[in-house]
Point group: C2
Amino acid sequence: MASAVNPDLERERKRATFDRETLTNFLYGGAQKKQRRRYLKNAVFSDPEYQAMKSRVFCSREELYALHLQKYSIFRRIQENLNITDQEECFIIRQAIGPNEYYAIGVHGFMFIPTIQKLGTEEQKRKWLPLAENLTIIGTYAQTELGHGTFIRGLETTATYDPKTQEFVLNSPTITSMKYWPANLGKTSNYCVIMAVLNTQGKNHGLHSFMVPLRDLKTHKSLPGVEVGDLGPKFGFNENDNGFLRLHHVRIPRDHMLMRYAKVAEDGAFTVSTNEGSRLTYGTMLFVRAMIVSGTSTVLGMACTVATRYSAVRRQTEVSPGGPEAQIMDYQTQQYKLFPLIATAYAFRFTGHSIFNYYTTINANIEKGNLEDLPQLHALAAGLKAFCTSVAADGVEICRLACGGHGYSHASGLPWMYTKATVECTYEGENTVMFLQTARYLVKCYNQMKMKKSLPSSFAYITDNLSGKSDLDNKLNFDSIIEAYEHRAARLIKAAALNITFWMKAGNKVWDSTNKSSIQMVWAAKASCHLFVVKTFINLVTSANLDPKVRTALTTLCRLYAVNGMIENMGQFSQDGFLNETQINMLNGRLSALLEEVRANAVAFVDAFEYHDNELHSCLGRYDGQVYEALYKYAKSSPLNDTDVHSSFHKYLAPLKKESKL
Amino acid sequence: MASAVNPDLERERKRATFDRETLTNFLYGGAQKKQRRRYLKNAVFSDPEYQAMKSRVFCSREELYALHLQKYSIFRRIQENLNITDQEECFIIRQAIGPNEYYAIGVHGFMFIPTIQKLGTEEQKRKWLPLAENLTIIGTYAQTELGHGTFIRGLETTATYDPKTQEFVLNSPTITSMKYWPANLGKTSNYCVIMAVLNTQGKNHGLHSFMVPLRDLKTHKSLPGVEVGDLGPKFGFNENDNGFLRLHHVRIPRDHMLMRYAKVAEDGAFTVSTNEGSRLTYGTMLFVRAMIVSGTSTVLGMACTVATRYSAVRRQTEVSPGGPEAQIMDYQTQQYKLFPLIATAYAFRFTGHSIFNYYTTINANIEKGNLEDLPQLHALAAGLKAFCTSVAADGVEICRLACGGHGYSHASGLPWMYTKATVECTYEGENTVMFLQTARYLVKCYNQMKMKKSLPSSFAYITDNLSGKSDLDNKLNFDSIIEAYEHRAARLIKAAALNITFWMKAGNKVWDSTNKSSIQMVWAAKASCHLFVVKTFINLVTSANLDPKVRTALTTLCRLYAVNGMIENMGQFSQDGFLNETQINMLNGRLSALLEEVRANAVAFVDAFEYHDNELHSCLGRYDGQVYEALYKYAKSSPLNDTDVHSSFHKYLAPLKKESKL
């Protein structure tokens, strides 16, 4: 019986208006790729070592770290057994083994090896890449310091060249200069690429990259002068040994500076061949941000899967006296929490694809030396990274709260997802800093527009002419929706630009004038990103090659996304009367109607993402809907229940009792 | 040197425009009470056993649970040594020992003993109260079940009377009927008050309370038929053994039913003396919600303390090339994150006082049998519980994110605060359910107003006449502000009421019509609570007996709270043109100006709360601002650093390496 599907959930699946398998095929690039995906995941889920692993939520921090390494070794074994080399396929396997976890040795593959590839000379590459690839050396990349994050010119670590011994002396001169946060740094890595200020022949030459051995390659003991360790428990990512590193006059040979673009000669003479290096690093950064945008759909989609399935199964409060209790998904307030988030998960998925294609196209131009589109790509990637991660993190929490008390238990899987989703708001470019970078670009575009210069196509909507009114009516025509989002973004960009000008004219310097306008700049950047997402979703449902029933269902979801966004930001859409009171009332009415339309397909929409029970780690989000049996089993396996009477009873509770005669 | 105060922080303290000690005196009811508070806290902080405790973030779940009991035994010892009996003073001591933690044996004191007092006969009280007070029996209160939360008529646990043996048979007939979530249930309690459906003489008599022994009073072993345990790790509150309890035909004597208001005779005959019982339970519920409202100020105030002090100390990005990096508190975006939250922490503090006084007054009437004001109090308490907890939880996260990467570490103390703040959105009345209860009352008031009946004073603003326009100008007159908040609330209440009527007229039943209007009902309830908080804050700064400089500073903070609330909900204030475009632009300008005005006092405002370093548990929020030394110390004490080479290296990492010749 326990393996049967809960009848409420079964009924939900039957009432869908489209074939969810068809949608899954579309999401994963066709039936064949979807099958391949299933095959790879199944290779993980059927692996005996994988199956025998301890549940991560029952692990101590120490066990969690060890589990993390174990997962990596399982990954390597499966990868070798199946002879997988394709990066996307590797990604699927890693995700299946440890979803919403930081990859063990992730920085080794994503940053350490690529940095050697990009910044090393041919000789350096010949020396280190084979060692890195066979894991003789395991490396990480250390840039941020205890006192310095975003502002990299503030970094303090020094690399001083000593021509006598032909060595660099790496040093952390202050407490704030110690490297802090790099992943895999504390216990795992034996090597590190370190960003440090180069001093040679008495001159400071700015930041350069150095290969620094941290631990003995045989014993793994930390080397003399290297003070390295884990930085302690965190909100999440406790499987990872994010670390601190303090260097006490550590000497490395001259050839440990990565010298493809800048060299220090034996005598200490410094030469730069080209500053192409920073451009290459820049490309990596943009790539990572595009990856993060794609990832937001995954974590939000998983949270929606959990909350939606649970909302189909959970019943609460009888509708009429003595009648059955209602599925909580029938409550309008529950629909209002979840359905716009399902729409968002889809919107971000398509946005991820879009920004990624965009990146690929523009990057090809950049590689050819055409840098024209770089600012545009940078503005898009920075803003979308911030927009999508913050919406996704908030969305995961809404899903968790929508599951009531059980959402608070790790049995739901949702707290873990949240700690994963929220960290993305901070790393790889803190979100407020990202929005401001985008906003500065938008203001620049506005000023260009004022000077009658042409704008890149993505930003051609920026205008000074905001006198029009919306023609939006209850048909919710997509052109009218786009027009409304464009109007809002254009108005906020103009307001931010004028505000800066106002403060400049009042005699303030650029920094102060910009700072005094930065709240409005963030609003402008958010509106501009929101517009991009809405346009992308609309473009997909109108132009992609979709099955008709799938198109109809996705079109409704797309309308819900757009309408909900307008209602959530109503002040910005209506401040200048662009939308009038009648239109706002119409939108409120359409919101309710769209929620009812999505209702029939809610479960099918989340099923279509095809997140496996083993990936969700959730008693509430199980495919079979057998929620209560799973919660009971989870409770029984809590390590606190290993003994009936906990040892602390004898130590603390029993002594508190006074004599009695019951 | 490390004990000196960071000069940036010292300068912030000197620039305050008021004497922060004077504000502290006001907050804690005068200089004498403040001194007493300090004395009690110091008794904790100077206690050797307290000082020797392991840091909670380095504990395993098992250790954390034991630590929790240890803290309770420290509390009892200090309480006895100082001979403290006053409940408020006990509260101060407990808070100092374990801030933002669930009290060990909390339910024993808050629910178990009061339930015996309220629902027990004189004989039952004589028997059990002394045993409970000397901790021979340690009890909890079990109502919610695995499948049943808010809707208590859905509870399934049965208590069937067997006249042959004069016993009740307690049983959990299904998996969903097992008790789930009660605090202290899993490992700590040996007794429990259980809410169960009474069956006697073949009839169901609804829910009643039963005293059920769970564990042997000597050995603490669980009793036959009692399947009890911890329910596993959660997002937070892992110090507490929230439990599950499945009863397998457990027999208890007849006199274990709490029989003050309802009795079962020896032959099984059921009689009710009065249904006063539910009214008493109701009073407890309202009291708890008023307590929660007060508590939201504490957790949000602590988070603001951490983020504000850190923002004074942390520097990032040079203002002009080569110049010093700016304190991050000088960034407008940072001010926009933090200062409205400082204002909110103050607003909620005064709201907590207000609702508490309100409760005391109305409760006195209720005790006299005058129930007239009960619905009003219920509507206020339910809505404010939901409003304040959700704003506070979101606010704590904003504080955490405002601290960048370091905010994500448990070293900041902020993740712990968040898991404490967010659970309050769910327990003691799930927030959406609470808002809807308030909204139903508001709609009822609206309909009464339409019938020309008078309304309770708190809701006298409800009106049908919404044709007026705001006269708000840049003086931000308090009457105009209140009028704007009243207009917004009244408009949303009217909209919700008319929406229900619309659906009723279209032929829908009450449940459906209300459900189809519930998004708007929640908006109405939020607006009404927001209005209450704004009015309370304004009333305080205009009417309380305040030092003139403190009054000036708090008045600015109050204006910031009100203006920020209008901007955040601009659509609701401007939809019908009540505020026009010029006024909105004026508000945006005033927001920037108010942030700059608050800037000088930000640190003084959080200092005035006087949360001790030992309570904040935060490297970032230290009074002395020595943030980086503290983070370094935290990192070094991470248990993962107990050994230089972690054992998992040999098990997982080393085997991955291939032979090499470096």
